[in-house]
Symmetry: C2
Amino acid sequence: MSNNVTFTEKLRSSGLRPTKQRIEICKLLFNRANTFHFTINDLNKLLNKTSEKKISLATIYNTVHAFKKKGYLKEISINSERSYFDTNVTNHHHFFDESNNELIDLDNKYVEKITISKSLPGKKIKSVEVLVKVANNN
Amino acid sequence: MSNNVTFTEKLRSSGLRPTKQRIEICKLLFNRANTFHFTINDLNKLLNKTSEKKISLATIYNTVHAFKKKGYLKEISINSERSYFDTNVTNHHHFFDESNNELIDLDNKYVEKITISKSLPGKKIKSVEVLVKVANNN
DNA sequence: AATTTAACTTATAATGATTCTAAACTAGTG
DNA sequence: CACTAGTTTAGAATCATTATAAGTTAAATT
């Protein structure tokens, strides 16, 4: 996803109407050099700064959940206070910086293959993800 | 923690008054062969079955948070819908069974040493934990 | 291009989990 | 036994999220 036309097509092709609210949100989330981690609250504040007309909170919730359902966003649960969304939807790992509540991607290439010598009968593995909690040194 | 007398001593020694509500909750949580994973809601239901007099929800919240603060419980965030607590307070890993929302300990001995070849300047690692999501085979 | 309709947005109400409050109660101390 | 500080409690308050239902809009149909 990179420009408005592409957003329009992308949305339409996945069965979501390309409304101006959704395009606005796409621009904010996907016109970035790096992956982006955010909470609903972050997104709401950003949209209030960026966009002309206020997008209602309900629409923000609806859109984020629609995008998650379509696989454009991934939800990450680090702690009970807030839920994070991630524009990087691949299976990957995270640092969570407890000093400032920041979530940072940890690419698979930095984590050596994880070998688990236990399995649960009748269950198959859907994902294996590592969470590294960090804090300031001092 | 194993019997009432021990609970009384344990609570007192960590600066918590051994009230009958706290002892009741201790019995339920720590008189077990295995580690126990629960939500506040689970605990509330269990207490309603087990104990004579109803323990108020506020007290359950207070107690669980007091125990967490004292290091008798650990909080685990798997998804945004619910927060789990674990009587196993060591650094360890988990399976999360998406078919029935069950959290299962994955002992360190079953996970090969995790090597991470990236660090964040000025930050130190507090914990490294793996979450393996599983679901029914069929 | 106008009409229609199903999808979407919105403000607001409802919900549910958690925290707060302030009054009543209780463990431990003198 | 009386005192005090910690604890419990019911209910109110709060916060994030979801539901509702009325108005709006995209896009299919005519």
